[in-house]
Amino acid sequence: MALTGVALIALTLLATAAAIAATTLVWGRFGRWRPVSRSAGVLLCEALIVLSAGLIANRHEQFYPSWQALAGTGTTTTTAVQPPARLDSEFGPGTTTVLWRPPGSAAWRLASNAQVTVPRGYLGSHGSFPALVALGGKPAGGDLVRVTARPTSKTTAATLANLPALLGADLRVTGHGWALVSSSAFAPLAVRMVEADPGRFAALALVGGPPRGFRCPPGVAVAVARTASARGALPRGVTPLTGTWAAAAGWAVTRSPLPLAAPQVLPAGAA
């Protein structure tokens, strides 16, 4: 019999009516046990009335849709340990930077091979790391996975469109909260990369610039690092920084999420 079904409610109401009738019928009986029989009858009636009200309310609001629901969730969280990624084995205590030449990387039209650097703690971790992509420079990536690339005039946001997915296949990186740091020479490319992949990058830091007509992409924190003597107003919403690559990358890292241990997860819902 279903917990929220009419049958159970009807049965409970019937039992309530029966209890009231029985209590009334025996009200004058049982002699010296009368106080006990009466009290028990009254309490039974009251309990059944409250139970009926509770069942009706539960049917209406569906707090506990089934008997099973009363027993808890039947689900335990699991730790989403990330399996080692393709390139994990290439890193070791003395090797934190390797050349990165995934299949298809020739189409990126870079001046030289890209490099990936993993932070201290990457090898001992089973979690995912946000990534910092640097165009035209090699700033320290803090505790993020760092990709450095030297674009050419033939490199576009379109040729680099598969870079995040390829990085995801080769290293344990998150899908969001990334940082992009670029020299002013590649600023238009950097801006288009951020705009072409909304939700991927949390921060964009430009060393010099910004490009003419620049507007902050929605949801992305933007900073421009310039020399102390630099003049000229920055576009609205842009954070001014004094310095070059270190200032830009340092700022971008503080805008990214902390690399975390493998999270507790529940099964995903139906698509």
Partner: protein, 360 residues
Amino acid sequence: MRLDGTGPVLFAAAFVVLTAVLAAAAWDRSKHYARAGLAAAAALAVLVTSALELNRLTETYPTWSALAGDSADPDRGPDPGPEPGRGSAFRSHPAPPPARSEHNTPGQGGRIVELTVAGRASGMTMPAYVYLPAAYGAGRERFPVIEATHGYPGSPKAWLRRLNVLGYLNREIAAGRMAPTVVVFPYQTPTALLDTECTNLTGGPQAETYLTRDIPAAIKTHYRVRTDRAGWGLIGYSAGGFCSTNLLLRHPGEYAAAASLSGYAEAGIVIGDGSEKTGNNPAWRLRRLPRPPVGLYLAYAGDDRHARADSLLLARLATAPIAVTTAVVAHGGHSDAVWKAMEAPAFDWLSSWLARPAPS
């Protein structure tokens, strides 16, 4: 004795037995009016017991004074007055020593402190509870913030007493699955049984303004927290799940991500300006308006039909650039057990979306 504890329920239950025994014993010797009195007393005892137990389960009136209609929370003890040198409209209540507060365990993890937020923008003045992670006292960093909304009927005390949020936060942060984060538990209505769904009710409480302007302003004034959008997120269960989804979609410039636990796609109330069908309707927003680049976590129990259908609808409509993660527990309906099972995964997920604690 705490209004929302088991004490008053047991006390009232004793009256249920007492009135039943009294009626049984005194019935034959009583006149008609006295019998009516005995019956009424018995009925009243049952009603009061049921009401107290319901209140214990939902934390609708967490304190005696909340029941009396006083919106300020007496739990915090005598009001120490405005903090010297602040000159702001907010009154802060520095954390009591751990042993003095029911929520805090000495020497373990973070602690809960209380803050009365006098909302300048909304006109709402309510207490709020604030979780400060263990790292808060030691460091000089500015922490990310999560605003946690409660269900209806309910109060922020439900997070603390029914859902054991302090324990979950301490555990997830200590395990490194969550960054040290400040978590705020505000009230979302000045009147316990008025369901605002965190919106600005026409001619009523301006809950949305309170939650999205006054609370952030107070937290940014009083605590070392991040002031940028990247560092702010939302979480809520049941009606609070609707709140977190709706507030995220309405204020993507203030919040980066939200987690909805058994939440809904519609307000289910009349707001007064018809906006429950439009601007305050996440499904309508997702269909008609540009979607913001935010993270959205939608969790539900498989047997919670309404929340399941609404979560799946939202997941289908919230396409790129919104990044949706869904999470399901097999069963458990619309209950505390379900939300407890969801807490750790939801907080871990939120933390992965929020900017880290940063040097001040």
